[in-house]
Symmetry: D2
Subunit: 90 residues, 4 copies
Amino acid sequence: MDGNENTLRRLRTVEGHLKGVIRMVEQGEYCIDVIRQIQAVEAALNKTSTQILENHLNSCVTTAIKGNNAKERERVLREITEVFDMSTKV
Amino acid sequence: MDGNENTLRRLRTVEGHLKGVIRMVEQGEYCIDVIRQIQAVEAALNKTSTQILENHLNSCVTTAIKGNNAKERERVLREITEVFDMSTKV
Amino acid sequence: MDGNENTLRRLRTVEGHLKGVIRMVEQGEYCIDVIRQIQAVEAALNKTSTQILENHLNSCVTTAIKGNNAKERERVLREITEVFDMSTKV
Amino acid sequence: MDGNENTLRRLRTVEGHLKGVIRMVEQGEYCIDVIRQIQAVEAALNKTSTQILENHLNSCVTTAIKGNNAKERERVLREITEVFDMSTKV
């Protein structure tokens, strides 16, 4: 199973989890339990992002840094910084 | 539209957004763009949690604090502390 | 030791930890180790915030909700929602 | 001013901010205001971490990836993944 398949599998699991949360709200379940499940969904999404980043570092980023295109190198490194910065905000 | 309907509407929008992220991965779109969309999904989930908490504070929590059941009061307040604590971790 | 003393003790520990991080940077220690220590400082700050919120819920918030001032009740509940919302962003 | 000096300047500003938070607690200021200031300190720490990571990507990481030591390359990339993962938890 390559990285992409693994990511898809994780995201489909998150989708199932989220459908479960929607059902909880439809059935009027207790607010705090809904919030806890939403937080669990977010933790699963964080793990997925980390895994995607790991694949990206070992493929595109490594290729760009070894390559001769300085602009491309700067771009991929700036993107890592940007997603790290955003990860501290969500 | 009551709080519950509003929450459901938000969660269904998040579900649509998440399906879009899954399609992006299926089509092999750029890793960083996928991570950014996952972060956007998380930001939307955070807003939903905040809205659910707001409703909860104005209903269950207020009722419990005005009520005479000390254990129930403690429980609802402890739950708020717990979801706040968890929110700093996801 | 009351809640305030406990908060002060925690914050002074965080201050000592932060001074240690500053020394690490002055001595040119490895970037990733510095980032890890900054993340540890943030985890300690999160725990402190949670503890302050817990005290606040059991004192001011409980008093306001039991009181007769509707505006004051709304204000304290809105503040809880606001700090929860912010906690998902830092 | 190099990256290190910039980081030190930021961390010393955070230290001053934190001392201000300690004074607020000593003077018994309002809990929610203290929590808001702690959240501001954390936002400043996040910005500092992002800046340190940016420098690190453009120096150590770039050197390691261009180098011939496969173990070293793996190590620096794994570290990026680890601090990203942790950043979603604090």
